[in-house]
């Protein structure tokens, strides 16, 4: 295997304009470099503020291999701190979530910290009087993430202290979060029903690419969509469908449907798939809910919000959003060949329970470890992880609809089956893998 650490040009050579090298998926060294460079220099999704509703509430997780926690402060603000005692490195909390009260207390030697991480007290204080503890990192308390941004209650952080600010980094794709939140007549979402967690033996980029892959459902999901279509055969087209049928049957739509839904790419790897319509566009209408939305937003804006239901909006490299159903997926890379996927459902304040049921039903059918559809996806990701070790072809093709003029346009709307949405992710990958320094806090 090549050595990439000190050869930036070798990393850049892995991403050609119409294909990528297999080492992006297979190399342990590149995965380590992704943790240092790509994930440190991009804005990553941490969580939703509704996971920590009350002062003292925390939610702990690993962000690009680093232990972090969201903490609700006494004044209501949510902060993101490293979950690491300043003394010897123990995590302050080891439950995933809970309430720490008014301060954190390390279980090892009882060093304590305020909710914002400032040092509070430690035993045998006099013994430190003549030492340089207060001058070094260990005397400064818990370290906050370098950059944190809360956008409409969605919490993002960046490990590096330098780089594009949040709005510049995400740009137009933030509209996908707006759409999701605006579907609440009260403009407020809360996470609901817990999180489905699925672990698979494949590289995270296979999963992220597949979120924009409109050509796989017809062949990959043939067994599930065929079974659904056969079971529903004989029912009139306008007959109300059980929710599971309503959500599964559109997966069988043909190449033409997926091509015409359209896609749009943005700088830094982000995208919206299904700019014109998607498999989510024809869910049963809910007159009372739509009236509530019109009352909240006005006729025109309510119509705009409701007609927009993209397939997936990708916030490169860690988040994929669906406005309808109200569901997100979080991509948590664990190793070159191991990826954790989380599926979260949202409740929209002021909307009927049916919307929340749709979110949970969709996540359960499509993203649960016992999903009806995902087994075939996961099987194929794991199959590629093994197949790519073959000799004779070290490249993964992304040629579909490649046009050299696309290189000059960071923002572009295109047909839905154009692999531009994937090429765009890899161009961002190369860009952020070229940043060798993580700036200090």
């Amino acid at each position: 295997m090549n050595s990439y650490r000190n050869r930036p040009e070798a990393i850049q050579a892995l991403v050609q304009e119409d294909r990528v090298h297999r080492d992006l998926y297979l190399s342990d060294e590149l995965f380590a470099l992704e943790q240092e460079r790509l994930f440190a220099n991009t804005w990553l999704y941490v969580g939703h503020t509704s996971q920590v509703p009350n002062p003292g509430d925390y939610w702990s997780l690993e962000l690009a291999g680093r232990p972090v926690m969201m903490v609700r402060q006494a004044d209501g603000v949510v902060r993101v701190l490293y979950n690491r005692c300043a003394h010897k490195g123990s995590r302050l909390v080891s439950d995933e979530s809970g309430n720490t009260g008014k301060f954190f207390r390390c279980p090892y030697h009882a060093w304590t910290y305020r909710l914002d991480g400032a040092p509070l007290a430690l035993p045998l204080k006099a013994a430190y009087a003549d030492t340089r503890l207060t001058e070094c990192e260990s005397g400064r308390g818990l370290v906050p993430l370098a950059q944190v941004e809360i956008y409409r209650e969605f919490v993002f952080a960046r490990i590096s202290g330098t780089g594009p600010d949040f709005k510049t980094y995400f740009g137009e794709v933030l509209g996908a979060i707006d759409n999701m939140v605006d579907r609440s007549p009260e403009g407020r979402l809360t996470v609901g029903g817990g999180v489905l967690r699925n672990v698979m033996q494949c590289n995270w980029k296979m999963y992220l690419e597949n979120i924009n892959d409109t050509v796989h459902p017809m062949s990959t999901h043939e067994s599930a969509t065929r079974a659904a279509a056969d079971l529903w055969q004989g029912h009139a087209a306008d007959e109300p469908k059980p929710m599971a049928m309503e959500q599964m049957l559109p997966f069988g739509a043909g190449y033409d449907f997926f091509d015409k839904m359209g896609g749009r790419v943005f700088a830094n790897g982000h995208s919206v798939l299904g700019v014109h319509f998607s498999i989510h566009s024809n869910y049963a209408q809910l007159p009372e809910y739509e009236a509530a939305l019109r009352a909240a937003h006005g006729e025109q804006r309510a119509a705009d919000i409701l007609q927009r239901s993209p397939q997936n909006s990708v916030f490169f490299p860690s988040l994929s959003v669906k406005g309808s159903p109200q569901a997100i997926r979080v991509i948590r890379p664990l190793a070159a060949d191991r990826t954790l996927i989380e599926a979260w459902s949202f409740r929209a304040a002021g909307a009927p329970d049916l919307l929340f049921e749709r979110a949970m039903s969709y996540n359960r059918l499509v993203f649960s470890p016992m999903s009806v559809l995902a087994h075939d996806d996961v099987h194929l990701f794991e199959s590629m992880q093994r197949g790519l070790r073959a000799d004779g072809n070290e490249w993964v093709s992304l040629h579909r609809n490649f046009d050299p003029s696309e290189l000059a346009h960071p923002t572009l709307t295109t047909n839905g089956t154009n692999e531009l949405l994937m090429r765009n992710q890899f161009r961002a990958w190369a860009k952020y893998m070229a940043l060798t320094d993580v700036a200090p806090v």
Binding site: L196, N198, V199, T220, S368, V378
Partner: protein, 156 residues
């Protein structure tokens, strides 16, 4: 009560031998198969997420899918083994004919060189049909349902 205890053993044996159509026939028309995400702590299937919550239609869909040669994830095929502890009858209502039982289990699902090992307690709500007992609800409370799980392709 022996009938109900034997029913539980026979139900698992149908799954372990891959006789999914025969297994589905054990469910009442309004029967459900449910794997709550909170395990034993979960109150109902709608206020919180579930790993699976299937009515007969969805169970039929899963079974039909497994029969399709293009169910790619079934190459190689999955096989399962239920190891059951003796069931305990939790309630028995002669008026309605409804019996509830709890059955601690270990479940192994094997595919190729990999296998998944799960433990938990199964809770059956059985009712009397014209030809014997039927499942109103099969609820599976996993030991640690909130952990990151690999694909579980058959039926616990």
């Amino acid at each position: 009560m022996m009938v109900a205890l034997d029913f539980i053993v026979a139900e698992a044996a149908l799954l372990d031998s891959g006789r999914f159509d025969d297994w589905l026939a054990l469910f009442a028309a309004d029967g459900h198969y449910w794997v709550p995400l909170l395990g034993a702590a979960q109150v109902d299937p709608l206020s919180h997420q579930s790993i699976a919550f299937d009515d007969r239609l969805l169970l039929q869909l899963r079974i039909d899918r497994l029969k399709n040669p293009r169910a790619h994830s079934q190459h190689p095929k999955s096989h399962c083994q239920h190891v059951l502890q003796r069931s305990v009858v939790e309630s028995n209502d002669p008026a309605t004919g409804e019996v509830t039982l709890r059955t601690p289990f270990i479940y192994i699902e094997a595919r190729g060189d990999d296998q998944v090992l799960l433990a938990g307690t199964c809770r059956h709500r059985l009712t009397r049909g014209p030809d014997g007992l039927l499942i109103r609800q099969k609820r599976i409370d996993l030991l640690n349902p909130q952990r990151a799980l690999p694909a579980i392709q058959l039926f616990i």
